[in-house]
Symmetry: C2
Amino acid sequence: MEEEREEITRFFRKSTFRKKTMIMKAGEANTLHYYIEKGLLRMYIIDQSGKEFNILFARERQWIGDLGTPAETPYFIETLENSTVYSISEDNFHILYKRYISLANYIRKSYVFLQKRFVSILSKTAEENYEELVNEHPELIQRLPQYQISSYLGVTPVFLSKILAKRSKKD
Amino acid sequence: MEEEREEITRFFRKSTFRKKTMIMKAGEANTLHYYIEKGLLRMYIIDQSGKEFNILFARERQWIGDLGTPAETPYFIETLENSTVYSISEDNFHILYKRYISLANYIRKSYVFLQKRFVSILSKTAEENYEELVNEHPELIQRLPQYQISSYLGVTPVFLSKILAKRSKKD
DNA sequence: TATTTTTCTTAAACTAGTTTATTTTTTTAC
DNA sequence: GTAAAAAAATAAACTAGTTTAAGAAAAATA
């Protein structure tokens, strides 16, 4: 187990980035996978009209990256806090998850998570999705500015603000 | 390679189902994974208000199933055509993707596909999403009734019909 | 081929969420 | 601690998509 960890570690390169650093950019190919030691990052797209949509937040002990690599990525990744991450190339990433089932399981879990999120966005109102986020990841609400959350929920900052106004009247 | 195929085949059980058969039901645990030899199936949810949302269509040489198993599944799977499928338990599925990277890769590809679909639904209009579906999977349009497609696009049948009316005026 | 059932269309009133603009509040930097 | 910048709130007019309902067309079945 300790050996395994050591061997795995050899594949990675440690880096630290200041808040608001872009570490992956749409159009790049052969992008890296990142394992987060400390900090908070987001993966997002920018649509034709220039609007941003957050696909994913990732924090301590989570992964972030485009699993579609080595193809040209359509995604951006940016640090939202000062962050320390371990990066790994696609080739080495592939070697690892061939060898260690835990990594293949991470991909599977990511899928299940995304599917759940997809269903929520599709079938629930923005208000319900906000409630769910508060209940399941209250810490994210603390760490993120409101407009990042609205982009994650697929609505405008203006609309999220309305939801919150309505919500605080109730209490 | 031929050996591998044979060994893999041993884990599966072949079944055929008539059109409109439900082969997985929300609330069940330890659900099976299905590999499709012939036919067309859908995975969907039913929300609080009773509305259905199609998560996924799967056809020949594709997989369908809840990767969240053995937990209680929130999904339904139904055949849309007479179908022949190979089913496998979670335990055996796990053994296989531990042993054969191709199966782990299928999960990864599914993730990439879902992420793309998620981004489209989030950032594009229903009309754009319909165009995309027509371009990328024209055969699905042929095989599916319109109301199944609307559910896949996350809109009502009424609205899809409007889109099509507008669309045919253009030509 | 007539009948029944399923699917699709159209219309009209409605609602969830957007857009643009202005003001207020909070955070950051010197 | 003050100025500047960033984030959040509010308002009003707008649009993408929903709901309900009724009729038309197409497909399935006897």
